[in-house]
């Protein structure tokens, strides 16, 4: 159940995806990064020809580029000089940077010197590729800025110095503002340059060329640190103390593994340094983090920076815990029945949705569930991790959708409301319990609490059910559509709660005319009153019925409130005349079913919502049938 190990295995299982750029619908790109590589937004692209001469350059619009990186450069910050091995900022890669007025923080340590030494070592190593050698040949000449100026990419001021920021005063002398000044680079010297080498034989761009990735990986591999026991795999391999950040997105500083004991009580006591406490191999750290980043981009869901991730080890899609049946149907490419025949066993619909993922339940197919979040900017925590067989996971998911289920009508599909049966999406549960304006913080907290209910079959926390119940009992506080949604979700939660009781009561959507439960009967009465009054009101009259308006106090004092409701029904009964006979009769029939002494003022239990929903549905269905005949 080691999460790092499973991430590492996921990487190994998807080696064919390494370096492949995939575009998301939102036009954002993501890649399964090769080891020792990262991504950066490039601002300028410089192309070198086969003789190691400058060919052309162009300004890019913030293009994400896959670049090689060392441990040091990946975590460089502040004034530290730590060049990337190949593509880097102008201040690192231009040999004539100082000549054109570039500022160097420490004259002892010129960034270009360090950069070109590193590049030389790589270019002269047995792992070097032709393209790399051309780039090195060119950069060694130290004339990048000169060439970029000649190519009119960057501009010099009257003292032949680099213009760091564009000022309107230059416009008069130098003409239009060149695009590089609006490319996103804060200053010209921090513009990120990527190099390409053009040759007809191998048209692949340098940053997409697998030969280039492999070249750097092989070169860097022999420069790695000491061997140590890896706590994830148990093998002895070159280890690392630096771990990836930018896990959730490019601006994310939080790390999953970090070592810091100059502040904070962490490992101190038994160990003197973090190295004594633990070791992890460079390869495992890189691959596990890269796989995680890739998975988050591919199928993670982020709510207020909290990441919810479900993935399988067999590359087949797995349903998410936070989806409802409609989502699942859509993801598995199945048709949704618009108006399902509601009285046949509902479980079919759920079964069919999940069956889509069951197709090839190969041996050892497994599912991982991971939730990540950070409390502070620097550190990230695994809030939840679970590893289980796919079959068990799907069974649990099916169980959840069968037990925490009701009939819902709030989902829209092609501009039409559809009715579906199953468990509501966790996000919708949050809105039902805390209102549609619930902050993302609350939503993410609830989602994390619901996951164990789904995956481990735990009971839904009472506070969530109570909260949804109370909101559903108070329809006047919200708009109609919102109340309807809250009502069906509350019913789903209540149903699950009752199933979990020791006696295990099962309540279903179709009306139970046998039940003598007083709350259920009261709920039914309320529904009949609602339907009766609604029927008497014209189509244009959209105001709430008395039954709905008194719902909240009805739940508290049913006996007394019912008198009020019944009294206010009389004008409508009169208006409808004989049309109301059926419903009036029904009220008497339901009232008849009360056991002695049950018709009192004790607050209603949650069952009354079920009775209300089922009775109302039954009446409307009957009406439809009547009109059809």
């Amino acid at each position: 159940m080691s999460w790092l190990l499973h991430l590492y295995e996921t990487y190994e299982a998807n080696l064919d995806q390494v370096g492949k750029t995939v575009k998301k619908r939102s036009d954002r790109e993501y890649t399964l990064l090769p080891v020792s590589h990262t991504t950066q937004n490039a601002h300028i692209e410089v192309t070198i020809d086969e003789d190691g001469d400058f060919l052309e350059a162009k300004v890019l619009e913030k293009e994400s580029t896959l670049i090689p990186c060392t441990e040091e450069s990946a975590s460089r910050s502040g004034s530290k000089v730590a060049p990337y091995p190949l593509h880097d900022k102008l201040s690192y890669v231009a040999g004539d940077f100082v000549k054109y007025g570039g500022q160097i923080k420490n004259p002892e340590e010129i960034p270009f010197d360090k950069y070109i030494r590193n590049l030389e070592e790589w270019a002269n190593s047995p792992y070097a590729t032709e393209k790399l050698k051309w780039i090195y040949t060119y950069l060694r000449k130290g004339r990048l800025i000169e060439d970029l100026v000649a190519a009119k990419i960057i501009k010099l001021d009257e003292n032949q110095k680099l213009i760091e920021k564009w000022d309107d005063k230059y416009t008069a002398r130098l003409g239009e503002k060149p695009p590089i000044f609006s490319s996103g680079a804060a200053e010209t010297s921090s513009a990120f340059i990527r190099f390409n080498a053009f040759t007809p034989d191998s048209p692949e761009d340098v940053w997409k060329d697998k030969a280039m990735f492999d070249s750097f990986i092989a070169f860097y591999n022999q420069k790695l640190g000491e061997q140590d026991v890896c706590f994830v795999t148990g093998d002895t391999r070159p280890s690392t103390e630096r771990h990836a950040n930018k896990i959730r997105h490019a601006a994310d500083k939080a790390k999953l593994i970090s070592a810091n004991d100059s502040s904070g009580f962490t490992f101190r006591g038994r160990f003197k340094s973090s190295k004594e406490a633990v070791a992890i191999s460079y390869e495992v750290s890189q691959k596990a983090h890269n796989a995680l980043k890739w998975l988050i981009h591919r199928q993670g869901k982020t709510i207020d920076e909290r990441v919810f991730l479900v993935w399988g080890n067999d590359n087949n899609p797995v349903p998410n815990t936070d989806e409802d049946i409609v989502d699942m149907m859509q993801h598995s490419g199945r048709e949704i029945e618009r108006e399902p025949d509601t009285d046949k066993p509902y479980a079919d619909q759920v079964k069919r949705a999940i069956a889509g993922y069951r197709n090839d339940l190969t041996y050892q197919a497994e599912v991982n569930i991971l939730v990540l979040d950070s409390a502070t900017t620097g550190r990230m925590a695994v809030l939840y991790y679970r590893h289980l067989t796919k079959e068990l996971y799907l069974n649990r998911l099916e169980e959840w959708h069968k037990s925490c289920a009701w009939e819902h009508r709030y989902r829209k599909d092609e501009e039409q409301f559809i009715s579906f049966y199953g468990a509501p999406a966790t996000k919708d549960i949050a809105f039902a319990a805390y209102g549609p304006r619930a902050s993302e913080k609350i939503v993410k907290g609830l989602m994390e609490r619901i996951i164990p209910c789904i995956v481990d079959g735990r009971a839904v926390p009472r506070d969530i059910v109570r909260s949804a119940f109370h909101r559903a009992s108070n329809p006047v506080s919200m708009e109609r559509w919102e109340w309807e949604k809250t009502l069906s979700i509350a019913c789903a939660l209540i149903r699950k709660g009752l199933l979990e009781k020791e006696e295990g009561e099962e309540w279903n959507v179709p009306l139970n005319t046998e039940s003598k439960d007083r709350s259920y009967l009261f709920g039914r009465l309320l529904a009949v009153a609602d339907v009766l009054e609604r029927g008497a009101l014209g189509k244009d009259e959209t105001r709430s019925t008395n039954a709905i308006r008194y719902m909240n106090s009805f739940a508290q004092n049913p006996g007394r409130t019912w008198k009020t409701i019944q009294a206010s029904l009389q004008p409508y009964q009169a208006k409808l005349g004989t049309k109301a006979t059926y419903l009036s009769k029904m009220i008497d029939e339901i009232a008849d079913q009360f056991k002695d002494g049950d018709f009192n003022n004790a607050p209603l239990t949650e069952q009354y919502l079920l009775g209300f929903y089922s009775q109302r549905r039954e009446l409307y269905k009957k009406k439809e049938e009547d009109t059809n005949e």
Partner: protein, 237 residues
């Protein structure tokens, strides 16, 4: 031999911190306790320097579940910081273990009385242990009681598959128990079969990583007082 002990240990939460998340990150529990954690629990029940515990087997009774909590750990610089720690929830284990005499304490050879230690251990266990029991970390209170190892129903009883739980820390080799002036950490690949985890003996662990040199603390006869002496001092018979 009368040196075996069987007991169950349970609690609402447990945090057997994965060392990777301990050195500066946010603590996350291993999915099952380490050998060393169980040894610590046993030593809380009853321990004397004369004896050394060997943990034989562990049985995981409840499903492995996690729950995170927001905590406010102390900061060296003063005050607190914010963190999310992830605990195991609702844990229940059965343990089978035994004790042996610590051969590296020849000064305590006079105390090597198997029956005595066995009886005290059983009595201590019945009383719930001599010291506080905690599951991995101090904030996770645990409870122990005697039980027959393997009795009762466990969650993983019917799980036919062998679950590989990854490489985990087994425990530490302390100089006073190994006779080697070195602190080292043992790792092992953990497998769980129907909830049972059989621990290899410390000497059988193949992955051993040296941490640093360490000398055992030395004791002299002036440092320790025998029970007989104490009894005499107190004026007993």
């Amino acid at each position: 031999m009368r040196n075996e002990v069987q007991f169950e240990v349970f609690g609402d939460y447990a945090l057997f911190t994965d060392p990777l998340t301990k050195i500066g990150g946010e603590k996350l529990s291993y999915s099952v306790p380490t050998y060393q954690a169980i040894k610590g629990i046993l030593e809380s029940i009853y321990w004397k320097p004369t004896i050394m515990y060997i943990i034989d087997e562990l049985r995981v009774m409840n499903p492995i579940q996690m729950e995170s909590k927001g905590v406010r750990p102390m900061d060296y610089g003063g005050g607190n910081t914010l963190a999310n720690y992830t605990y195991l929830k609702d844990v229940h284990y059965q343990v089978k273990a035994h004790f042996v005499f610590n051969e590296h304490r020849p000064d305590l050879a006079f105390d090597r009385n198997e029956g005595k230690h066995y009886s005290i251990l059983q009595r201590s266990l019945k009383a719930g242990g001599r010291r506080d029991i905690f599951l991995g970390t101090r904030e996770c209170q645990g409870y122990v009681q005697p039980c027959e190892f393997g009795s009762g129903e466990g969650f993983y009883d019917t799980d036919e598959r062998t679950q590989y739980l990854g490489t985990m820390v087994h425990g530490f080799n302390y100089p006073d128990e190994t006779g080697v002036n070195e602190l080292s950490v043992r790792l092992w690949p953990v497998e769980m079969k129907q909830g049972y985890i059989e621990f290899p003996k410390p000497a059988e662990c193949t992955i051993v990583r040296s941490v640093r040199e360490m000398k055992p603390k030395l004791f002299h006869s002036d440092d320790i007082e025998s029970a007989e002496q104490l009894l005499r001092d107190l004026g007993g018979e």
